[in-house]
């Protein structure tokens, strides 16, 4: 067996090693212009090997078992030339938490015929809601991960996820909504209905009038903004290498009233698992607690360098990428808003365009808000175009409150968030 061969080779040639194996099945349906376009079924597998020799570390990946041995050899040769001294070892075997709600057999049992049904349900809903379907994707995935390292660590887990994205048009406005779940409990007509509602409310958008500086961010907008401009600053690697604006701010108050907790064990969390992508047990880490910056996030290597422990935040985009530090599920908590305070004199933003262009090093951002509304005197009026500019560290100081409409958007679990400190032009 190829795996045994490469393990044998690595035992001999490397001081430490790790093999990450991923196997997945994906079923998706795509709809375009009011019609079902195609259904796709795919299987994939891949392997990522890290080898350590004399504290040098090398990484090699391959999509095929047949190339495993050569990937192992490559990882070892790269490790021999590496002079970074980053090869500090890998996690030791530990007890893993029992994380609930990340695998649902019903998702594994979804068939192409089922997807066909979901597609038809979505199309029907669009008709009933009086909107045009521009684009829609429903994706169901099962993933098996297995991790082995030279410390005798062996970890395996299966996870499922189903997700939908619906983009619709009404008059001169378009809007999209998306939702993912670890369980087969997404109601496609409900998500389609939400997308339709936003599109209808956005049509006939006008200009911004008057002076408004407070913004209400939907969970999607919060995630877009935070992921691109704030979360990178929490990385222990960025702190050590001088790339984080928060590096000397531990124990300081950076956001009065805000609590941000990274929780890799969050039940049904989109990024929950028993162990991170290096085999460290998943856990809860308070990043900001009641306004104070308490912890950075670490993986095994940077945890060692910082003379602390890994916080279980090692993440791989897929088998072919090297692990790096990334949040799992960031739970955002703030005091509740009273209805009067929250829903008045503010600009509500559903999603951002261009969030990936923001500046994680300075914290500055300048983004276009989509499906934005002026909320004033109990009314919600759509705005055609609005640009929000500011610095995330000032925004953090001016977060007022959060409401209870909590949902998870990618890496962030939050309600709508109200904050000042934005500069707005439209």
């Amino acid at each position: 067996m190829m795996l045994d061969k490469v393990l044998g080779y690595l035992e001999k040639e490397a001081d430490d090693y790790e093999i990450y194996m991923e196997r997945g099945k994906k079923l998706e349906i795509t709809l375009e212009a009011g019609e079902i376009k195609h259904i796709s079924r795919g299987k994939m597998e891949g392997y990522g090997i890290r080898a350590i020799v004399n504290r040098g570390i090398g990484f090699s990946s391959s999509s095929s078992q047949n190339d495993l041995l050569s990937a192992g050899r490559m990882a070892v040769s790269l490790a021999k030339i590496d002079d970074s001294k980053n090869g500090v070892g890998f996690p030791v075997p530990s007890k893993y938490p029992d994380v609930k709600g990340i695998y649902d057999r019903k998702i594994e049992e979804i068939t192409p015929e089922d997807l066909h049904e979901y597609g038809r349900e979505i199309l029907l809903t669009c008709e009933e809601e009086g909107v045009e379907l521009l684009y829609c994707e429903v994706v169901s995935e099962i993933q098996d991960v297995k991790l082995i390292n030279s410390n005798g660590l062996v970890a395996e887990e299966r996870g499922t996820v189903i997700g939908v994205l619906v983009e619709v048009k009404y008059g001169d406005a378009t809007a999209y909504e998306f939702e993912s779940s670890r369980k087969k409990d997404i109601e496609f007509s409900t998500i389609t209905g939400k997308s339709a509602e936003i599109a209808r409310e956005s049509s006939g958008g006008g200009e911004i009038d008057g002076e408004i500086n407070d913004v209400i961010l939907s969970p999607h907008a919060v995630n877009s903004l935070f992921s691109n401009v704030l979360y990178p600053a929490f990385s222990g690697e960025a702190v050590i290498k001088g790339r984080s604006p928060l590096s000397d701010k531990l124990s300081e108050e950076i956001s009065p009233g805000l609590t941000l907790t990274d929780d890799g064990t969050y039940e049904r969390g989109l990024f929950s698992s028993s162990f991170d992508d290096e085999g460290t047990p998943e856990q809860k880490t308070p990043i900001i607690k009641n306004g104070i910056l308490e912890n950075f996030l670490y993986d095994f290597t940077y945890g060692m360098k910082a003379k602390t422990e890994s916080s279980g935040n090692s993440f791989r985009e897929n088998y072919s990428s090297q692990p790096y530090i990334k949040p799992t599920n960031v739970i955002v908590e703030h005091e509740d808003c009273t209805r009067d305070v929250f829903y008045d004199k503010a600009i509500y933003v559903h999603t951002f365009i261009g969030a990936h262009t923001a500046n994680a090093v300075s914290g500055d951002f300048s983004l276009e808000g989509r499906n934005a509304f002026i909320i004033r005197n109990g009314e919600r009026r759509p705005v055609k175009s609005v640009m929000l500019y500011g610095n995330i560290y000032e925004i953090l100081k001016r977060i007022e409150c959060s409401d209870r409409n909590i949902r998870q958007s990618e890496n962030t679990v939050t309600g709508n968030l109200r904050a000042g400190g934005f500069r707005i032009s439209g």
Binding site: H38, S63, L78, E113, Y135, S362
Partner: protein, 450 residues
């Protein structure tokens, strides 16, 4: 390697599909990062995938596997999946696909250079980034080769192998708690000759100098104003605001403001825009992922919209032969750009500044995004300069530009100095290499600032 042609279904069974095609992709890449003087990441990746699609009763089924998958089984799977769907209107243009077998060779084969030499060169360049008040320096290097084999039910088989290489230089400057970052990059189709064709030492000096200058730059003003965009930023505009809006699949979805507007004047008459996959810029390919040979396509001629970009599917309704059908790995085909550019006009840079008189000059791009159905775009400049009385004044940082595409296009004045910039374009979760190009341009837009 099994020839794809051997996988065609012949008389041993009746193929249900009206059409099918098979793509086998393989990639291998090496990347090296030097950060703060040390090698940080050595990584070598290989990967392969196979994507098969079948058209049955006007509906598409896709089956995807890795390089070892049984292609015949994948084809059967694609057909059976397509058969689940009710009858549909899916069509494909029968075109003369490329009968090409080409290995694009670099001038200097990176595989011939040992890794220690590469590390030494990169470390030397990285040293040049270090200056006073520069607290983080990084050089990222990659070299890769992508091979694509394509065949469809017409039986023609084609192949290419394409090398790419790139270097990114980046510096972070810090003073009194304020931090700013700047980076420069060069990505090319080719090999190690990139180090002869580019002076990375000079680029490293410039990178750190600009990072330092950004510490003193002010926030930009906000509001609608006249702007001059450098070729880097103008190129991103061409890509984001215009390029995506002429992608045939978005047009047919009803998600583009340029739908049904062929023949209309949509821009100033100085504007000419093309997409050309045959140019050896970063978006180059000899044939697309549907086997269609490269050809230059006109999008805007003298301000009039003359063409869309198409795949073989969208070409059935929108005309032409396709040529812009691309999928990342074995992913389903989408209409994508290749090398998209605005050609030269008549204005010199100084003349553009004089025309703007009081406004802003924006340089370099950190990327952008568009909502083509609304005709709204956003993109981000690396930095800029206030333009006062037709001359460059204070430096500003973190400026973003947004606006309505059609408005911006009507007011464009086009410069004389066309330059191309490499990039990676993302659409529906799929990334492909592209380039965009433009000269300096002047126009009116909404600037993001205080």
């Amino acid at each position: 390697m099994v020839s794809l042609l051997e996988c065609h279904l012949h008389s041993d069974r009746m193929a249900k599909a009206e059409f099918y095609d098979i793509r086998r992709i393989h990639g291998k890449s090496l990347s090296i990062t030097i950060e703060n003087g040390k090698v940080e990441n050595f990584s070598y990746k290989t990967g392969g995938a196979i994507g098969v699609r079948a058209l049955v009763n006007g509906r598409w089924g896709y089956a995807r596997g890795n390089s070892e998958s049984d292609i015949k089984k994948l084809l059967q799977d694609a057909e059976s999946i397509a058969s689940i769907l009710e009858r549909g209107n899916g069509k494909i243009k029968e075109v003369k696909t490329a009968e090409t077998r080409i290995r694009v060779k670099p001038e200097e084969e990176p595989a011939d250079i040992d890794i220690e030499t590469k590390v030494k060169i990169l470390k030397d360049i990285e040293k040049t980034l270090k200056k006073d008040e520069i607290i983080n320096t990084r050089v990222i290097y990659f070299e890769n080769i992508r091979t694509l084999e394509y065949t469809d039910s017409s039986g023609i088989e084609s192949f290419y192998s394409l090398p790419r290489i790139g270097v990114i230089l980046s510096s972070i400057a810090k003073r009194s708690g304020l931090m700013q970052q700047y980076s420069k990059r060069r990505f090319e189709i080719g090999g190690f000759e990139i180090f002869k064709k580019n002076d990375f030492y000079r680029m490293a000096e410039e990178t750190s100098d600009i990072a330092l200058k950004l510490l003193d730059a002010s926030s930009p003003p906000g509001g609608k104003m006249k702007v001059v965009l450098d070729p880097g930023l103008a190129g991103v505009f061409v890509h984001e605001a215009l390029g995506h809006a002429v992608e045939g699949d978005l047009i047919l979805q009803g998600n583009s403001i340029l739908r049904g507007r062929k023949g209309e004047i949509i821009a100033s008459e100085e504007v000419n825009v093309f997409d050309d996959p045959g140019l050896r810029e970063y978006g180059f390919y000899p044939f697309d992922d549907e086997g269609v040979p490269s050809e230059k396509r006109g999008i805007i001629k003298d301000g009039t919209l003359v063409g869309y970009l198409n795949s073989r599917e969208t070409a059935v309704e929108l005309g032409g032969d396709g040529g812009n059908g691309r999928g990342e790995g074995s992913n389903p085909i989408l209409v994508r750009m290749s090398n998209t550019f605005m050609s030269e006009g008549d204005w010199r840079f100084e003349e553009l500044l004089e025309y703007v008189k009081n406004g802003i000059y924006l340089v370099g791009s950190r990327g952008g995004q568009t909502s083509p159905g609304d005709g709204v775009f956003q993109f981000h400049a690396e930095y800029g300069y206030i333009v006062k009385n037709g001359e460059l004044d204070n430096m500003v940082r973190d400026v973003s530009l947004s606006g309505l595409t059609l408005e911006l296009l009507k007011h464009i004045k086009v410069g004389k100095d066309l330059k191309f910039n490499p990039g990676i374009c993302g659409k529906n979760g799929q990334s492909v290499p592209v380039s965009d190009g433009a000269p300096h341009i002047a126009t009116i837009a909404l600037v993001g600032g205080a």
